[in-house]
Amino acid sequence: MTPIISAKNLAKSYGEPPNQTTALNDLSLTIKKGEFTAIIGPSGSGKSTLMHILGCLDKQDQGQYLFEGKDVSSLSENDLAKIRNQKIGFVFQFFNLLPRTSSLKNVQMPLLYAGIDKKKRGEQAIAQLTAVGLADKLNSTPAQLSGGQQQRVAIARALVNNPLVIFADEPTGNLDTKSSSEIMEIFKKLNDRGHTIVMITHERDIASHTSRIITIRDGRIIQDEKNVKTKRTISKLDV
């Protein structure tokens, strides 16, 4: 089976010489369907850059990136938009919800660009918000929600198009401990149901919830380990 993600010899740097900083340095990586991968590393290690390239938000300078076997660098803007829309779901550290816009509308946004009709949009958005336990917050704006609730809206948005892979960039980085474990619980449930998840974090504790931990430093993978003793917390959420 073709891996979802297959990256070979990725390199990326920012700025002009001599002030150039290398973000990725000859990095290769393969992720298969159903994996729950954590990419950890200190800040500046290049993990965010890696996620942006893997999420088709940014392009590598060198190397090859195949998403579902397709060479991403050969795709047009519109093809990339379609992949981001249909195959990828993003969850960001700062939630990235549209301000002054209800949860329901935020979650519907990817469906809007997918050209789904109004009735179906509403149904799917409500279903996802219900799944993350926010059935009673459909009309709340981000300002009316706690951080944990906002991140759950963001997860509902990432899931609403039933993507192939979910990219989460420090999803718990802005949350308290309780909210963090709730969010991790949701991710684990999703993974149990077959979702492929790539999560970036700098906290080992958070990474310990996943099944594979990739450590990067200075733009290279220094460790890639299977996490056999995946940490389990008692679920309070029915996802």
Binding site: L57, A81, R84, N85, N96, R100, L112
Partner: protein, 397 residues
């Protein structure tokens, strides 16, 4: 994304910044309103003047003293007036296809009846044919006839304003009015004409030509009115009249005008004036457009993060382009609609004082122009938004 959804989300985005949207539209509102209002005033005035001239009849020709045009000393000046009754008689004799030709002498003076006084009355001395040529018959009593002119009778046909102001409900026929110390017997009442550009056309008294010359102490003729038999030979008649008058007078002494010619001259002037005004108003529309462009650029910068997010969840460059373009168009169309409403209301109010008429073409042009302004000035910011790299936009705070 469906077009309808794009429009919906554009409206939502504009509602979030209500005050800013309103202020941005204001430029377009003022522009559209002033274009429509000024054009409607110009058109109203043109139509009004046309209808006034049509009342007069398009077969009519005038001879006025002085030359109109280059180097002319202006019409109607008594000091340059060389027109006399001889010229009238000559025209009558030499030009055969006329319904008639009449001289007029005019003065403004006060008319008295018993203890009532009416000021600034136009006293016109003329002949019996005037009623037909100027299309001003007596509706009560009758006009004076040729024998009354020949014998210099002190009779008068009075305008409706004189009847109302001086006689009230009393029948004026047979009564004697006082014009500069002379008593005139009222023999008829003229058909009411209303007012032209705020000037009362019924505040007049018509008396026999001979009587008037004696009363005013003049041998001159202020104007000569003639009427051609058909509209077709008006121009030809004007040429013949000019030729006849040139036998005795120089080119600088008189002008022969036709109603059509005068009308087209006035319309030409009004056309230029209203086009100039509309042009000036269009500048404000342009300024309004620049305002839209400015605000859209601010909006793109402010919402860079939103653009990044939209791209991250699957918006194509076209989706972003349309979103911002439609916002700009909505702002300008909204401004156009409000401007149109204001202009219509303004024209309605104005039409109570001056002729004003909202014309369909000015509405179409102003409205079309406002949409065009929205597109032209919205497209640059929208393109800028659509070209943002998703990751660069997402990082922007």
């Amino acid at each position: 994304m469906e077009f309808f959804e794009t429009v919906n989300s554009a409206i939502e985005a504009l509602r979030i910044n209500k005050l800013r949207s309103a202020l941005t539209s204001l430029g377009i509102i003022i522009g559209v309103a002033s274009v429509i209002l000024l054009v409607s005033l110009g058109t109203g005035l043109q139509n009004y003047i046309t209808s006034e001239f049509e009342k007069l009849g398009s077969n009519v020709l005038f001879v006025i003293p002085g030359r109109i045009g280059f180097g002319g000393r202006g019409p109607g000046g008594a000091t340059v007036n060389k027109l006399s009754l001889d010229h009238v008689k000559k025209i009558e004799r030499k030009i055969d296809n006329l319904v008639g030709v009449v001289p007029t002498v005019q003065q403004f003076t006060t008319v008295k009846y018993q203890n009532k006084v009416q000021k600034d009355v136009t006293i016109v001395g003329t002949t019996e044919l005037f009623a037909e040529i100027a299309n001003l018959p007596a509706v009560k009593g009758k006009f004076f006839d040729k024998s009354q002119i020949d014998s210099g009778k002190k009779v008068a046909v009075i305008g409706q304003t004189i009847v109302d102001k001086v006689f009230g409900t009393k029948d004026p026929i047979g009564e004697k009015i006082d014009i500069k110390g002379q008593k005139y017997q009222v023999i008829g009442v003229l058909a009411a004409q209303g007012s032209t550009l705020g000037v009362d056309q019924d505040n007049n008294v018509i008396i026999p030509f001979t009587t008037a010359q004696r009363q005013f102490g003049t041998n001159q003729v202020n104007n000569i009115y003639a009427k051609a038999q058909t509209q077709a030979n008006v121009e030809e008649t004007a040429e013949k009249m000019t030729k006849v008058l040139l036998e005795d007078l120089s080119e600088d002494d008189f002008s022969v005008l036709t109603a059509k010619q005068t009308l087209s001259t006035i319309q030409g002037i009004l056309g230029v004036i209203s086009a100039t005004l509309a042009g000036i108003a269009a500048i404000s529309l342009l300024v309004g457009g620049i305002g839209i462009s400015n605000i859209m650029l601010v909006s793109v910068t402010e919402r860079t993060h939103e653009i990044g997010l939209r791209k991250a969840v699957g918006a194509r460059p076209t989706d972003i382009l349309l979103q911002f373009l439609i916002e700009a168009i909505i702002l300008s169309v909204l401004g156009g609609i409000i401007g149109l409403t204001l202009a219509s209301a303004g024209a309605l109010v104005a039409s109570r004082f001056v002729p004003a008429q909202v014309t369909p073409w000015s509405v179409v042009i102003a409205f079309g122009f406002s949409i065009l302004v929205g597109i032209i000035f919205g497209v640059a910011p929208a393109i800028r938004a659509s070209r943002l790299e998703p990751i660069v936009a997402l990082r922007h705070e």
